[in-house]
């Protein structure tokens, strides 16, 4: 029943029609990019205005996401620079930690696979194809 529409910028993607609010989607994306080392300590994030305009979302939504990431110690507010990735995130997180972040998404996929009675091997084959297509 959900309508899913995605639009992307260089950094962020938002999906509407999901039960996950847009600000939480943004928080999750920054957390993943930082954990994966694609965003490293000192990297500057696009301004609230830029993200809001590119994604056509309310600027309050973007600043809420940045605010939560700041409280969580992922981002730091730099005078004159805006938001940067915090100093403590100087390298990619260990594999175990990154897997833990991925876990809820995989759990959901596993649950849906079972509901649809799709053979695990078939589902895995599809997943492997997707992973290769994207990387």
């Amino acid at each position: 029943m959900n309508i899913v529409r995605a639009s992307s910028t260089s950094l962020f993607t938002v999906t509407t029609g999901s039960s996950e609010p847009i600000y939480r989607q943004l928080v999750g994306q920054v957390q993943r990019l930082v954990a994966g080392g694609q965003l490293a300590a000192g990297d500057e994030l696009p301004s609230v205005r830029e993200v809001a305009e590119q994604l056509a979302v309310n600027p309050m939504t973007v600043s809420k996401a940045y605010g939560l990431l700041e409280m969580g110690g992922v981002l730091e507010r730099r005078r004159g620079l805006g938001m940067v990735v915090a100093e403590s995130h100087d390298k990619r997180r260990p594999l175990a930690e990154r897997l833990e972040i991925l876990r809820p998404t995989l759990e959901r996929a596993a649950e849906e696979t079972a509901q649809l009675e799709i053979d695990p091997d078939v589902a895995l084959q599809q997943f492997r194809k997707m992973l290769k297509g994207k990387t």
Partner: protein, 290 residues
Amino acid sequence: MMSSTIEMKNVSKRFHHKAVLSGLDWAVPAGHVVGLVGRNGAGKSTLLQCALGLWTADDGSVAILGEDPAALSDAVRAQIGYVPQESDLFEWLTATQMLAYFRTFYPRWNQAKVDALMERWSIPANTAIRLLSGGERQRLSIVRALAHDPSLLVLDEPVASLDPAGRRDFLREIVDRAIEGTTTVVFSTHIFTDLERVAMDIALLKNGRIALSGPLDQLSEKMRRVEGPSAVLAHARWGQELARSATRDAQTMLIVIVDEGSEERLETLARQGVRVHAVGLEDWFIAATQ
């Protein structure tokens, strides 16, 4: 600024004995972007028109930018932009002629903005308006409403005849205003993906009242669909129950807004075969307005 841009108290409006609004309370905070939703025929247009003074309420009080809508001063009138659902443009004029005409009514007129939007939205400037497509008229109507840099923008289903690209352009325009933080925007819509993108607050009109209103993020985070045996759910209560329906096999489905203590109770219920799901806005709307 914490004051309300639109403030309606106990407002009722009847047409031929049919009550459209009955004892409605609604406050729109200054600087917010508010999405007004409700089923077809719920009275969204009537509500917006009462707020603007295009109808007089039978009962209750209405204030818009601090004034009585039936006796607006020129100064306040010049701060309001309105895009009606039905295009009320002058069919025989061209867009350029019509905009020049409206310009004479406003002390402030942002011609640079008008030119930029006409160009960006590809609106034929020198063709009679009656020859424009539905989408072009709607875009022109939006340009007219934005031209005098209103501090309150009221839009009645502004994107109904726009294609997805046109809607995205329109949303960007709203976003630009939200960035400046000086414009209050109220728009009615059926398109939830648009709401999700740009609305800070949502207001649901149902049975002549605002049945639910508040920050969109908070509401969507606390919204749950609860399903389980009717026997278990018969007496279950949460922060706010929006819908309840019995389905097949003595099952009950609820749409609820959970509060502080709810999570714990839901966990207890989960052990008795009750399932709890997060809900997307659109699913919530369908369930809550049935």
